[in-house]
Symmetry: none
Subunit: 190 residues, 4 copies
Amino acid sequence: MQGNSKKDRILRATLKLITENGFHATPVSMIAQEAGVGAGTIYRYFKSKESIINELYDIIMKELHEATMANIPPDISVRDEFYTKWKNILNFFITREYEGRFISQYMTSPYIERTVIEETKRRNIHLKLLIERGISQGEIRRVDYNTIAVYMWGTIKQLHYLYVNNAINLTEELIDDIYSVFWEGIRIHK
Amino acid sequence: MQGNSKKDRILRATLKLITENGFHATPVSMIAQEAGVGAGTIYRYFKSKESIINELYDIIMKELHEATMANIPPDISVRDEFYTKWKNILNFFITREYEGRFISQYMTSPYIERTVIEETKRRNIHLKLLIERGISQGEIRRVDYNTIAVYMWGTIKQLHYLYVNNAINLTEELIDDIYSVFWEGIRIHK
Amino acid sequence: MQGNSKKDRILRATLKLITENGFHATPVSMIAQEAGVGAGTIYRYFKSKESIINELYDIIMKELHEATMANIPPDISVRDEFYTKWKNILNFFITREYEGRFISQYMTSPYIERTVIEETKRRNIHLKLLIERGISQGEIRRVDYNTIAVYMWGTIKQLHYLYVNNAINLTEELIDDIYSVFWEGIRIHK
Amino acid sequence: MQGNSKKDRILRATLKLITENGFHATPVSMIAQEAGVGAGTIYRYFKSKESIINELYDIIMKELHEATMANIPPDISVRDEFYTKWKNILNFFITREYEGRFISQYMTSPYIERTVIEETKRRNIHLKLLIERGISQGEIRRVDYNTIAVYMWGTIKQLHYLYVNNAINLTEELIDDIYSVFWEGIRIHK
DNA sequence: GATGAATGAGTCTTCATTCAT
DNA sequence: AATGAATGAAGACTCATTCAT
């Protein structure tokens, strides 16, 4: 999606316009114009307007996954791995403006095919492993995988929601304050 | 909205259909049919299709607020007040199927007038007071209000998201497990 | 139409609103409100919205006719009768703002039943008699009745058109200048 | 507007239907059908239904102006220039059935943008020059420009009105009779 | 008689998608 | 492969008219 192929330009145009205006306020003709292609051309690369969204969602979720896994050396501690991954995801949402808002908007939308739920689960396996490692190493309490997932994603999505609606000032202090509750909540207090 | 007036029937029909199909996949004519009124009748009670949503959102947020404040005796402990309110909100999301999904979908939508953000802030004042009480009574750590807000809402919204997408089995154990992380994360470990 | 009966109030409201806004920009409900009656009440007095127009047209044309015949003593000269009647009509158009504009707007409209053409002809008989008298008395040239009619009405309607569109400044000089062309054009130059 | 382009066909269809039925009794779908195009196609060429009218009015007024100026050799006499132009305009109204009725109907309508009034004034400059020439050459009396304008247009519009309503039989005799009153009224009787 | 809430047919307009070039 | 003109189905909304009260 970083390239300059027609398909990439269509995807980027869709991401930008749909994030800014919403799905129904973005006609295909507008996407075509922003992408610098003919309206008909879009239908060479995508079956329908909806399918652009689905492909976009898939790409962005892959990118999010990659970003999540960055800076995790093989010998990283449980504590650091949790922190690094949480921060990786948060950074993705905050720094990649369009992508972050796009995920928020379309995660709950009826346009996204329901297969992505499965896909997401599959991509979260690394988290399951991390939890198991944390428990077996006596670093964290014996909490459910879903519990961790709820906290990892729930905090980030809510933070992001407040951020894009200008309801909060996103300082390092606040971010660390928020993370600390999560970590204090799951770690074993020795 | 529980009544049988035409207006109530329109609101209920809109809530159901829009939650199930989305705003743009729900023609006004369909709302009229579900409500058992003529299409034109809708415009006696609402300025536009969009304004139905806005009124609906307002009503539901009021109901959510009321539900949040239930079962809070004056002499309740900080610990119990946190738990009760969190459970109240979660219960509202889980048991009021349409209302919960509606809030999730439209919280981020462009249809909702931006004044509701302020309204929401205003309604959350009780949470601010609770936090202050918890801190002054030495029950919880000195955490930011926004941190608490992120956890209260973030966990519930994510739980709800997984629930309506059938990604989790919502047992009492899981719910308590999830809540415990929050509470362990903010309470002072004596 | 000067009275205070419901019917009169409906007619007056229609005249005002329709002249200012046009037929299609004036809903029946607006007429009802202006008249201070219920919308349904209008249908006790008129078969349809269109029929209000037709009745209105009929009333106004009668009033115009009466105004036309004012100040004509039995022994008036041909010259004075022409002048007085022309001025009478012009005055009606200019001083009765709504009525004048109403006639202009609806004379050519498809809402007016075509029977009024006959009615108008019938009402113009006095003009035919005047012409005949003028010719037999050697005051005016032997011109066709239709010619006179074209001038009487054409000049007034065009003057009125320019007047309501603020295209001219309607001074006594201009009015007399205009009339003089007509009179000089038909009188016998002795 | 004589061509066979889609735009021309839309303009011609609108002229015909709107003249026969009136603006509000002519749905866009009907125009599309008469023009042999899809309803949506109309909006490629015109911003709105109203804008078709405005463009139409502009085109027709240009054509009327051209027709008015026909057959006027540079050395034409004042008398002949008056007559030729008057006849040119009358012929346009009579022979171009739709155009004539369209002008009559929409000259006073609220759909026509008010800028056209100015445009019309501008186009009538040639008449001003003719009057000045007539006065300086001692051919016509010192009458106001507006007086002449009232007669030129007033007579034609009234004649046309009676003609399209079948109230008169438009013979050459009548036409000349009518014109003679105007000319006798303004010329200097030597 | 009077009302005005209710209706639903009818209108303009948008826009995803097609297809001739 | 690429285009963009053309389409027409579909949608929000208005309003003349009806009818139960």
